[in-house]
């Protein structure tokens, strides 16, 4: 087990290092002069030259790279041209909102997709199975940004059931503690604001969750089918357990092993999808920030976001592996037997849904 964890950590470090290299190369390739960008729009030629020296931009490439790595390790992601603030501060300000959205979406996903997958596996081949799979497939084929707009149109504009945009009703305020509006409202004891914040969270979270329900449901279905075909399920029935108990207590635990991989990966994927969802709903967040940065050619902001999301991804993958160890006692014995080789494709778990961090 220790060997397994060590191997994963090493791979993760390699990946992060690689990411640093790639982003560094991006800084070299991106249009615009970083010295000028850092110096500000109205800087004189001398000021720009001074900044260039200060930032070490006149040094040889490998030297710059080391400096870059050094800064990264200190948490210095550079300065945003657009906001003129350190990128780290910018991202720290917007990340909680995205995390809130992603957690809400993941909860919806789990609550819907897991029972859907279990049911489809239990009724494999029957109409219910087909129906479940069709629904899941529709969710995956719908463009997420379009779905957001459609939900806004129908549920908000036409039916007036839910708010259109934003995180709180206009004029309402909540003191900022964690940065997550719902949590902050709760912490502040402001229940009406909490309800309001949740209402504003519904549409974006459902939109975000929809496209992933297919993935999770299908994984759960496949692994449940495998579990339900096993000898121990028959044995459980032979001892007189009810069908529900057999499926849920005996079978699901096994199915969760590969499914947990997917559930963990969701965190990263959903975070990536915030790019498409946040601006539609007028939410601040990493996604909206990244899009804005790209459109503004805000070099360090873009790279900063890419790095942060990459780190989140890697950490999520390691967390998934830890959960796998807990769920699957067999992994604890061997040196990680069929464990995945990298933060990407999970080869060992089950012949279903392995995914790369997502091409």
């Amino acid at each position: 087990m220790a060997r397994f964890l060590l191997r994963r950590l090493v791979t993760s470090v390699v990946v992060l290092a690689g990411l640093a290299v790639v982003t560094f190369l991006m800084t070299q390739v991106l249009p615009g002069d970083p010295a000028r960008a850092a110096a500000g729009r109205n800087a004189t030629v001398e000021q720009v030259a001074a900044v260039r020296v200060r930032l070490g931009l006149d040094r040889p490439l490998w030297d710059q790279f080391l400096g870059y790595i050094g800064r990264l390790l200190h948490g210095d992601l550079g300065t945003s041209v657009f906001t003129q603030r350190p990128v780290t501060d910018d991202i720290a300000a917007v990340l909680p909102s995205s995390v809130e959205l992603v957690l809400a979406a993941m909860s919806i996903n789990i609550v819907v997709a897991v029972p859907l997958g279990v049911y489809a596996a239990y009724r494999r081949g029957r109409a219910a199975d087909l129906a479940a799979r069709v629904v899941a497939m529709l969710g995956a084929a719908v463009p997420v940004f379009w779905l957001g707009l459609m939900l806004q149109l129908v549920l908000s504009a036409r039916l007036r059931l839910l708010p259109l945009t934003g995180q709180l009703a206009f004029g309402r305020e909540v003191s900022e503690i964690t940065g997550m509006t719902t949590v902050d409202a709760l912490l502040g004891g402001d229940l009406p604001a909490f309800g309001d914040a949740v209402a504003h969270l519904v549409l974006p979270a459902v939109t975000l969750a929809a496209s992933f329900i297919a993935v999770v449901a299908r994984t759960v279905r496949s692994s449940m089918i495998g579990a339900l075909d096993s000898g121990y399920i028959t044995l459980a029935r032979a001892t007189g357990a009810s069908e529900f108990r057999v499926v849920v207590r005996h079978g699901l635990r096994n199915a969760l092993v590969p499914a947990s991989t997917i559930l963990g990966m969701q965190l990263g994927w959903m975070l990536g999808s915030t790019v498409l969802v946040e601006s539609i709903f007028g939410r601040t967040g990493v996604g909206a920030y990244a899009v804005n940065a790209v459109l503004q050619n805000d070099l360090y902001a873009v790279i900063g976001t890419v790095l942060v999301i990459g780190v989140v991804f890697v950490v999520a993958n390691i967390a998934v592996d830890l959960v796998q160890l807990w769920l699957n006692p067999r992994l604890r014995q061997t040196g990680g037997g069929s464990a995945p080789a990298g933060p990407g494709p999970v080869a060992g778990a089950e012949p279903v849904a392995t995914v790369g961090g997502t091409p």
Binding site: Y232, A238, T239, G240, N254, P329
Partner: protein
């Protein structure tokens, strides 16, 4: 659901004209063609036959474990026809009145749950408290020969050897104190030495608890020291039945004779080809000669 007739001469299990068919792409296929079988109280019956004879299907039909099987006929447990029971009643029967020992202990045990948890399930679902169930489970495991049962109760299946796993499966099958134990090829997946131990265990358990046993096997070698009566099946039919000594000494059906002849014996000439059972069910020449020579 027990009827008033507790008379010892009515069989505990009475199977009458059992037919089992399974769905297939070209229409249902019947694999058991009208089998009659009795198991008396405290009796040990061996159901023998080669692969495909329908013996496993017959035995599993008692518990109605194959969801897509179509059953007809009667399977009476102490007077109650199991085939007409509603699902809830059937669940009560499983485990508590009829237990099943599975063939492959590795496949039969849930890899992500401790063996202890699996052993106490038949009791827990019947309302026994976890503590009491655990006590009983540990005692049973100990009785079955697992050393340090208390500690090993919290281990996982992959931490046990094959023989130990089979003991766990037996424990699961008998912990709710069934009247009838069906053992489906309980020794096939084990090596010879362990086979003997497991069979001895089953025999002791049955005698201690007054349990009837229906032993499914293709191995006539293990039947002699275990069963009271033998039922021979072939191609979905019961071709011969009788007390074990009679069967071995005076087999009547050619197929039975062929099966007996096919069992290798210590002291056989190693160069003697093993007897074959030809299509008609009669032993081929070599076997007949051998039998006469004995």
């Amino acid at each position: 659901m027990k009827h008033a007739k507790a008379a010892l001469d009515t069989p505990l299990l009475a199977i009458r004209d059992l037919r089992v068919s399974f769905p297939a792409p070209d229409g249902p296929v019947e694999v058991v063609h009208g089998v009659d079988l009795d198991v008396a109280r405290r009796e040990k019956v061996a159901l023998v036959g080669e692969s495909g004879s329908g013996k496993s299907v017959t035995a599993r039909s008692v518990l109605r474990l194959d969801a897509d099987a179509r059953l007809s006929g009667r399977i009476e447990l102490d007077g109650t026809d199991l085939l007409t029971l509603p699902p809830r009643r059937m669940r009560q029967v499983r485990g508590a009145r009829v237990g099943l020992v599975f063939q492959d202990p590795l496949a039969a045990l849930n890899p992500v749950m401790t063996i202890g948890w699996q052993i106490i399930q038949p009791l827990v679902i019947r309302g026994v408290s976890k503590r009491v169930a655990r006590r009983r489970g540990v005692d049973l495991l100990s009785r079955l020969g697992v050393r340090d049962a208390e500690r090993r109760f919290d281990d996982y299946p992959h931490e046990f050897s094959g023989g130990m796993r089979q003991r766990v499966v037996i424990a699961i099958a008998v912990i709710a104190e069934p009247e009838l134990l069906i053992a489906d090829e309980p020794t096939t997946a084990l090596d010879v030495r362990v086979q003997a131990q497991v069979l001895a265990l089953l025999r002791e358990l049955a005698d201690e608890r007054g349990m009837s046993v229906l032993l499914i096997t293709h191995d006539l070698g293990i039947v002699a020291g275990f069963a009271d009566r033998v039922v021979v099946m072939r191609h979905g039919e019961a071709v011969e039945t009788g007390p074990v000594d009679d069967i071995y000494a005076r087999p009547r059906h050619p197929y039975t004779r062929a099966l007996l002849a096919a069992v290798p014996r210590i002291g056989d000439d190693p160069a003697r080809p093993l007897a074959v059972v030809d299509a008609s069910g009669a032993p081929a020449d070599g076997a007949r000669r051998r039998e006469d020579g004995r």
